[in-house]
Amino acid sequence: MLESDFQKQNRFFLNMGPQHPSTHGVLLIVLEMSGEYVLDPQPVLGFVHRMHEKMAESRPCGGFMPNTARMDYVCALPYNHGYVSLIERKTGIEVPKRAEYIRVITSELNRVASHLLWLGAYLLDLGAFTPILYGFDDREHILDILEDITGSRLTYCYYRFGGVYQDIDDKFVDATRAFIQRLRKRFVIYEKLVTKNIIFIKRTENIGIVSPDMALRYGMTGPNLRGSGIAYDVRKNEPYSVYPEFDFEVPVGAQGDCLDRYMVRIREMEQSLRIIEQALDRLPEGPVRAKVPKNIKLSPGDCNFAVEAARGELSYYLVGDGTSTPYRLKVRVPSYSNLSCLPELGRGILLPDLVSILGSFDLVIPEMDR
């Protein structure tokens, strides 16, 4: 039906972005359209390209820490986590147990915050205004908790090679426990307001179906992949830090539509809360920072470290040359691969569905552009 003669003759281009409300920042999608049907969406990236990888090559490895938080500012701590773990793997620094626990707790809190923001932003894309404010209300609690120990609210620079910047206190533990209780109650509200809503279900069910094969060809990871029914989570499949010590599930969807991706994220928040609870219960005593040489030397050769960021697998690939400056640092960001399937996924769908798909991918543009 899409390739009728009429539609072939009546194609036109529509620039969606870079200042479009639902491209979340500065993403341009050039849509070739026929009526309200999208025939060929081509994303154009690079509006906030800052060449972080070049910056990494021009300063000692410790100096790149603040940059990691600025790639994905919504979920900065896993980016910190990946980078410090990479350097620790490269140099063989042992991290105290307590520090690893703190890393896991804060990373998971940050993941929940990221998902809460996504929840609101997605509903905003679908035209509901209120959930984003509720999401922000909850997220604000996390930011307050994290601000208290990290000193910043968004672009954290909390982890250090061999540990964390400062120890957590009882106030943090109590606040986190209280927050978990609160969020569990709030899930009921989200379920009533959003998950069960018939309009929401109609807007997301059977929209933008990503088949497992398609996910593999595009290298999709994270909740977008798990929505397609593949239980791939770096925290489970490639355990790092102290994740193997916790009991948590990897939620998966059934067919890979927007609703599945939504449900995966919602259930992931619950799992994150479980991890945090277990970590708080078993929090070991001890130092939070190992002794590390002042001048960290990166041995020649390459090294890879993957962590699960809120949007999927984040890989750092480092080539060292014996000095303290990385010779080459490649950051493999999840959203980049996730979005690359859009030209295939968005063929022949309606414009509102494209907005729904974009929202369900949970894109953070500065992360893709780096």
Binding site: T130, N197, R203, L350
Partner: protein, 327 residues
Amino acid sequence: METISILPPELIRMLIAVIIIISFLFLNAIMMGYLERKIAGHVQRRPGPMEVGFHGILQMVVDGVKLLGKELLIPFNVDRTLFRVAPLLSFTPVILPLLVIPFSEKLQARDLSLGLIFIVSMGSVNVMALLVAGWGSNNKYSMFGAMRAVAQSIAFEIPILLSMLAVVLMCNTFSLKEIVGAQQKIWFVVLQPVAFLIYVIAGVAETNRAPFDLPEAESELTAGFHTEYSGMGFSLFFIGEYTNMFIVASVATVLFLGGWHGPNLPYGEYLGVVWFFLKVYFLLFLMIMIRWTYPRVRFDQLLNFAWKYLVPFSFVNILITAVLVKL
């Protein structure tokens, strides 16, 4: 009929009515704008406008002044005539229906025997404004908005008419005054709950309010048909939308909620307006709450909803009503 002879000539009466209605229309837009912001704020657990006046009560006045002072930007390459005409076109037809609405027993500018038909026909002119605005803007997003508005309006006009017809069948008149008069004992919402529901849903869609705000749909079409408008051009659309909401709510009040009827007040034939406004603003409150609760429906779902659910239900409803009335 004695009262008419002591009234001023009909023309003066109409002029006064029009002046009152136009000033009320602006007042309503200001009030609705304020209410919408305040309710939206509290629904989202924030205070809403707080700075201008007591609890921000003058915020909308200030905004109005600001919009008046803004330049009416006319983008390059637009159809200048259509672009300028569209806001006026959206504004004028919403004044006229107010002339035939009976606010209380005696407060009615003109009681047309075909009042209901008049309102419906004026309501359809409004979509013309959206089409002209979208077409004249020379912007693809505006064009999408305009096309959606037309299809949506056509689809929802039918259930609106059919649900009205059910009421008309029950009291055998198109005159709004007589319809209210027929509800002296029992409101039609009790007798016609399905028609009432259909009317409210279709009315929300007719006024392009969320969750049926597809012509605007800011997450898809930036701002839809009024993307290119600024200053007064934009605010006329804005006033038009709120007045349209008011008309839909007052027609619902007249048809289903018993118009000015309520517990007796002194000077009931004039002060019935209090009950009327209470009912109207209750409905408007409901419409605002709906906007801040639900996501937007998709375009084809909207049309499906009209044709697959609203139209069959209203047909069945009419059939049953007709049979029962005949009995």
